[in-house]
């Protein structure tokens, strides 16, 4: 019998790739609710029509490009490889309007080559040259002009110094002392440009007994070394009392993202903006800043180190539960995990009343059990075990959306653990939108996480572009700031300077 002719033949994973793109599989799959619907069904129900309209009129993402940028006029150089720290820091500032030139060696930032499980098919190809670029790099290098410069050549160093004289900020992320050894550290550049704000970002420090290291082959120290050095990893994850150790869920756990880098990046951005404020408001000149992943994440370890100083407690990991609050956790349900929160008496009883409708046993916890009456007592370990065992007995029979709907009837802060496809289709996310798409000049339509500073009345943050091909802006930047024309660039390229 002749083989049936099909429109689409799928014989391998490679055959599926052309079926996945935004042209054939549009986002969002279903349209977000429209503003009229929201007005009628959300704002009006709380008698907040006028206020809701005010927010819609003044904060909607659609109006971002009708407004000026907060940091227009500041210029910044980015100088880093591999890590997210300098990319997130410069990204936040560039989203607020700071002009940003990112410098890479002619070989490019190795982060351009990173792709999950080494799969090149998940990299995006630049329309002009076909050079692939990894998605992390594309996503995080925002509003940047990309240039190349080899500072290991004498000419490259001279060019770097000239650029340093023109900018307000340098964000640098090379190994400790490397730039300094080339005569390009803060102590050298500040002589040329006393108004320079210079920020180094790293994992553990550029000085001190546990400063950043290189392997003997020159490999850099990347996240999560920072998070391992400050007890964050030690505190995250399920205890071996809940899941077995050894890769089966019961070990200390790193974040799925390079979280310590992100935290360092945002604190570096705060420090830089404060330093610029000091410089401009008080004429205090530039300064030297150092922000590390280990320490910036340690800043936000709640009370943990303080607690050790108080009574020698070493915080233990508690999985998806929280030792400070009950209820405040997620537990497994029929189709995933369901988060429930609300520790005050009022919320405790409301959660209980919701669950006992279908699971009368839970009613005994709120009506009867003398050990669960008092708010603080409910945080005891045995109280968590009992509460969450019975809660899960309810959750295992229902899926996330059913649980959310039932709990919402009682105005409980509850939400499902969502995967990215669900996040992208979540009505509120689509409405804002928080994951958005941009039609990139080089890479086509790219989905990205929207800037968090974009919802602002007068000078919102915005995403103008995502990562660019290597050296994409050499022509413009070198002409604009140093006067180098195409012939000169050709010459520099031949010498390996750019």
């Amino acid at each position: 019998m002749a083989k049936e002719k099909r429109d689409i033949e799928i014989n391998s994973r490679a055959d599926t790739l052309p079926l996945m793109g935004p042209d054939v599989r549009p986002w969002p799959v279903t349209p977000p609710p429209d503003p009229e619907w929201v007005m009628k069904n959300v704002y009006a129900k709380r008698k907040a029509e006028e206020f809701g309209q005010f927010l819609e009129d003044n904060l909607r993402l659609d109006y971002v490009f009708d407004k000026p940028e907060a940091l227009q006029g500041f210029k910044m150089l980015g100088m880093g490889l591999w890590r997210m720290g300098h990319k997130f820091c410069t990204g936040l500032l560039a989203e607020q309007g700071m002009e940003f030139i990112n410098i890479e060696p002619p070989t490019g930032d190795p982060a351009r080559q990173l792709t999950p499980f080494g799969r090149e098919e998940y990299m995006l190809k630049d329309a002009a040259t076909g050079t692939p670029c990894g998605l992390d790099f594309l996503h995080e290098l925002r509003n940047a002009q990309s240039i190349t410069l080899n500072i290991e050549t004498a000419e490259g160093r001279e060019i770097y110094k000239k650029l340093a004289m023109l900018v307000d900020v340098i964000v640098e992320e090379y190994p400790p002392g490397y730039m300094d050894s080339l005569g390009l550290g803060y102590r050298h550049l500040s002589k040329l440009n006393p108004n320079l704000v210079y920020c180094w970002i790293g994992q553990r420090g550029q000085w001190g007994p546990m400063k950043d290291e290189l392997s003997k082959y020159g490999q850099w120290m990347l996240s999560p070394f920072g998070a391992c050095a400050n007890a964050w990893v030690s505190n995250t994850g399920f205890p071996p009392d809940q899941c077995p150790r050894g890769g089966k869920g019961g070990d200390p756990m790193r974040s799925g993202v390079w979280l310590d880098d992100y935290v360092a990046g945002e604190q570096a951005a705060v420090n830089i903006l404060a330093a610029l404020y000091y410089r401009d408001q008080f004429g205090g000149g530039g300064q030297f800043i150092e922000t590390t992943a280990a320490e910036a994440l340690m800043d936000i370890l709640d009370f943990d180190i303080t607690w050790y100083g108080f009574n020698a407690s070493i915080k233990a990991r508690t999985g998806a539960w929280d030792p400070n609050l009950n209820q405040y956790e997620w537990n497994p349900c029929k189709d995933g995990y369901m988060m429930i929160g609300g520790q005050t008496d009022r919320l405790w009883y409301r959660i209980g009343m919701c669950i006992e409708r279908e699971l009368p046993l839970f009613g005994r916890l709120i009506h009867e059990d003398p050990l669960l009456k008092e708010m603080a007592a409910r945080n005891a370990l045995q109280a968590l075990i009992k509460t969450y065992t019975v809660t899960t007995k309810w959750l295992r029979d229902i899926n996330r959306i059913e649980a959310e709907t039932k709990l919402m009837e009682y105005e409980i802060a509850a939400g499902p653990v969502l995967y990215i496809d669900e996040v992208a289709e979540f009505p509120h996310f689509k409405y804002r939108p928080w994951v958005n798409t941009i039609e990139d000049e080089q890479y086509g339509t790219v989905m990205y996480s929207e800037s968090c500073g974009a919802f602002q009345h007068r000078s919102p943050a915005r995403v103008k572009s995502l990562g660019r091909p290597l050296g994409h802006d050499n022509g413009e930047v070198y002409k604009k700031y140093l006067g180098y024309g195409p012939m000169k660039l050709r010459e520099l390229k031949a010498k390996g300077v750019i």
């Binding site: 996945m20 959300v42 709380r46 206020f51 904060l59 000026p68 940091l71 999950p116 080494g118 995006l124 998605l135 992390d136 400790p176 290291e213 392997s215 082959y217 990347l222 070394f225 050095a229 400050n230 964050w232 030690s234 890769g247 756990m253 799925g256 993202v257 992100y262 705060v270 420090n271 000091y278 401009d280 408001q281 300064q287 150092e290 320490e295 180190i305 303080t306 607690w307 100083g309 020698a312 407690s313 070493i314 915080k315 030792p323 609050l325 497994p332 802060a413 499902p416 969502l418 496809d421 996040v423 992208a424 804002r432 994951v435 990205y448 996480s449 968090c452 500073g453 919802f455 009345h457």
Partner: protein, 475 residues
């Protein structure tokens, strides 16, 4: 030499010559880099340096961690910040403490048996603490007067609540057009505008939880990032927005309103997750303690803990994890030699080969098998001796005892003016600054501790009136 030439030499401007101009400058340029850094940051002398945000006054009508942290950042940088709490009760976060064990007293003289739990730590440092029941008409004028003499405010009430109480942006921008108004919450305008939010909700809703933890094929579960980390992380991004708005105001004299949603912030840090889904429809999953993009670059378990005889269970049972990194070819080859599996290298010579999922499973298993009869410190020592990158997964005690943080001043003791000897790991750790370093003055103060200072000394309310408002429960 001709006289003219000598004259020329004399007019030569010394300052224009390249190079150091004084002995101090020469020393500075010649000092080893680490010495230079130590001198530049001058740990321990933060208080004699100027404050970056001198003159900024900020109101914090906030609760929990997320929005308070946006103000604590300003307070550490030198802004004068005023925390407004509900009379007698205070911020609900004062009533949280790990396993109900750690409190500092007093919360307030009228409640001698209630303390402030350590859950409140670090989110509101250096601030003045006043109480006010805002929506009582008698409090309105006091509130407006505070707004007139402040630069901005951060609030976290359910969206529209302050607007209804006539103290939202629409009202305050009329009173003080330079005012920067921040609302921080879960969702902001839109279909879920009135949905409440917590750190854990942000982690769950935004997709962070779906990529953190061991893969379900290995028996793992979606894992909560500890420490209310999304609260803190989002709060810092608010501070970025505030400072950008301050710069804009310097140019234009105009304030603004910032609406910041922490649920969105948790999606912002997901890196390739969104573009991978958008272009290829691939839904990113958890990958435990390994890395989806680099191999070897992950945390392994060793066979023995470092302190088997310790009393504390965290020391006794948990000090057995090591962060290892050897993803470049030469590093990986060295690693294979160390664990006596040179064949692994011959099979996974390129990074592309070894970063695939089956390869990672095989490689990490080989490393853990090798480490099964070793302790954490032995593994770290062996790797470091061979020039590779390795570090122990440290716990709170080890961080406290770590010389690195002590030298850098990022863990230090503070003689708190009201609560005594408190160990501090915040503020200084956000970053060293050579000219305008952050500083930690006090951790927190009792509920309403600065009522007289602010209401009497700043707003001119007579003492008898303060007493009256206090008795009525308005302060």
């Amino acid at each position: 030499m001709f006289e003219e030439d000598i004259k020329k030499l004399k007019v030569c401007d010394f300052d224009e010559l390249p190079g150091p101009k004084s002995k101090e400058e020469l020393d500075e340029m010649k000092a080893p880099f680490e010495e230079y850094c130590k001198k530049a940051f001058d740990v321990g002398n933060e208080m004699v340096k100027p404050e970056a945000l001198k003159g900024i006054r900020w109101l914090s009508t906030t609760m929990y961690i997320f929005t308070p942290h946006s103000v604590a950042n300003l307070a550490e940088l030198g802004a004068e910040c005023i925390k407004v709490e509900m009379p007698r009760m205070g911020d609900p976060m004062r009533h949280t403490s790990p396993f109900n064990e750690a409190y500092l007293y007093p919360l307030h003289d009228t409640r001698p048996m209630t303390g402030t739990g350590l859950g409140f730590t670090n989110a509101n440092v250096n601030e003045y603490y006043i109480t006010m029941d805002y929506h009582v008409p008698e409090a309105k004028r006091l509130f407006y007067n505070l707004v007139k003499m402040s630069d901005g405010l951060t609030e976290c009430y359910r969206h529209g609540t302050f607007d209804r109480w006539k103290q939202g942006y629409r009202t305050l921008m009329e009173i003080n057009p330079r005012f920067i108004y921040v609302w921080g919450g879960g969702f902001g305008y839109g279909p879920k505008m009135f949905g409440g939010s917590y750190d854990i909700l942000g982690q769950a809703h935004a997709g962070l939880a779906s990529v953190t933890g061991a893969h379900e094929d290995f028996g793992g579960h979606a894992t909560k990032a500890t420490n209310w980390v999304i609260d803190w992380y989002s709060g810092t991004q608010i501070t970025v927005c505030i400072l950008a708005a301050l710069h804009y105001r310097r140019k234009t004299g105009l304030g603004t309103m910032i609406e910041f949603s922490q649920v969105q912030a948790a999606t912002r840090c997901l890196g390739y997750t969104a573009p991978l889904y958008g272009r290829f429809g691939i839904v990113r999953q958890r990958w435990g303690n390994w890395d989806t993009q680099l191999c070897v670059h992950g945390i392994i378990m060793t066979g023995k803990t470092d302190f088997p005889d310790a009393q504390n269970p965290q020391d006794k049972f948990e000090t057995r994890y090591v962060m290892l990194s050897a993803f470049q070819d030469a590093d990986f080859q060295e690693l294979c030699n160390i664990i006596k599996k040179p064949d692994l290298f011959s099979r996974y010579k390129t990074h592309k080969d070894r970063v695939g999922a089956p390869a990672q499973i095989e490689i990490y298993k080989a490393i853990e098998d090798w480490a099964a009869d070793k302790s954490r410190s032995e593994v770290v020592r062996i790797f470091k001796e061979n020039g590779l990158l390795a570090a122990p997964v440290m716990n709170d005690r080890e961080v406290y005892e770590c010389e690195h943080y002590r030298q850098r001043g990022t863990v230090r003791w503070n003689d708190d003016p009201l609560f005594g000897d408190i160990l501090v790991h915040s503020g200084y750790s956000c970053g060293l600054m050579s000219k305008t370093p952050r500083r930690h003055r006090w951790q927190w103060r009792p509920v309403g501790a600065d009522n007289v200072k602010i209401y009497h000394e700043l707003l001119g309310v007579p003492m008898s009136k303060i007493q009256e408002l206090y008795d009525k429960g308005i302060l």
